[in-house]
């Protein structure tokens, strides 16, 4: 009855070794993973030429379930590994999956620099406002005054706006979606993959087990519904005042510009010299 199965995501899973997955029941990460798969499927990429790279965290567990070239690296370093993968074999579509701790705390430097270089990599941030895997410590996106296991009296630090940071670091495609808006999310991810240059998609996801528990935000379902309430599409947001936007967040494509992309720029140097090489047998120090 294989024909019967029409959930396209299943084509891309590694069911034997890895399922059921490690995530808590209702965790938004799985929904985001589905959106990613559908984006790749839509683009009809050769799965042998797709590489998914992650660091450490609940979100970072995504690659193991996916039947691509997958790389589960060290905490925070996924983007730096991904840069090597891309340069080692520029034909690959390289996609990084990361959590807010992984990408923005320990991995923040690699994030801003990779954005700066505008290398053709797509980076997906699963932002659940907390360190899920280690048990609910605060992250650089935990909002001011919210609770975390290491902020027992409320967060006293300010938080990042990851998309803002991406833009001013140099990312040339930036979008935000939620797991509630799962089909829009697929579209944003596929735009990001198609974009030539560093593209970034922030996905608002629920971690009810840690963030939800510590902040009494209820079940997975409740947290996902909260996303619906607070999300404002880009077009609507354009007409709203800052006060009206207070406590909301904007979803959709936030930013797209075109600047020289790193791999192609570097290729120009290579091409120059391989031409010269042909004409000039003995290589010269220039």
């Amino acid at each position: 009855m294989a024909e019967q199965v029409s959930n396209v995501t299943h084509k891309y899973l590694r069911p034997k070794k890895t399922f059921p997955n490690v995530w808590c029941p209702g965790c938004g990460i799985g929904i985001a993973m589905g959106a990613l798969i559908r984006a790749i499927d839509t683009l009809e990429l050769d799965r042998n030429e797709v590489s998914i790279v992650s660091g450490i965290g609940c979100s970072a567990r995504i690659p193991v379930y996916l039947d691509f070239n997958t790389l589960h690296t060290t905490h925070g370093r996924a983007i730096a590994f991904a840069t090597g993968v891309k340069l080692g074999n520029p034909r690959l579509h390289v996609i990084v999956i990361s959590g807010d701790g992984d990408l923005l705390a320990i991995g923040g430097n690699h994030f801003i620099h990779t954005a700066r270089r505008n290398i053709d990599i797509t980076c997906i941030l699963i932002n659940n406002y907390i360190y899920g895997m280690t048990g609910g410590q605060y992250s650089p996106t935990t909002p001011f005054a919210k609770n975390a296991s290491t902020a027992p009296f409320g967060m006293v630090e300010q938080s990042f706006d990851p998309s803002d940071l991406a833009i001013s670091s140099g990312a040339t495609y930036v979008a935000r979606g939620t797991v509630y808006h799962a089909s829009q999310l697929s579209r944003l991810i596929s735009q990001a993959i198609q974009h030539k240059g560093f593209s970034f998609v922030e996905v608002i996801a629920n971690c009810h087990t840690q963030y939800g528990r510590l902040n009494r935000e209820g079940s997975a379902v409740k947290m996902i519904q909260w996303q619906k309430e607070c999300a404002v599409p880009v077009s609507t947001a354009a007409k709203m005042s800052p006060e009206e936007l207070e406590g909301k967040f904007v979803i959709g494509k936030l930013h797209e510009v075109f600047r020289p992309e790193y791999v192609s720029e570097y290729q120009k140097t290579i091409d120059r010299f391989s031409r010269e090489e042909k004409s000039d047998q003995q290589l010269q120090e220039s």
Partner: protein
């Protein structure tokens, strides 16, 4: 009358087929997301908390449930 007819057709259609969506219990973690998000209220829960298709006829194959199942435990039967 047209409505009634449609329902008839649907019924026939579904009679020949199993449920519009299938839940793979081995992967399902009973998070309830499909149940709560289904716009047509297709699901109920069994006593262990697993979703069961109770009103399959109402399903519009809107994709919402399987797109939001974090466990990849829902499969559409509509090809």
């Amino acid at each position: 009358m047209a409505d009634a007819e449609e329902v008839e057709i649907k019924k026939k259609k579904w009679k020949r087929r199993p449920d519009p969506v299938v839940i793979y219990k081995k992967w399902c973690k009973t998070c309830n997301i499909c149940i709560e998000m289904c716009p047509k209220n297709v699901f109920d829960t069994d006593r262990d908390g697993y979703p069961v298709v109770s009103r399959g006829l109402d399903c519009t194959q809107c994709t919402i449930c399987w797109m939001h199942c974090p466990e990849f435990a829902i499969t559409s039967n509509e090809k």
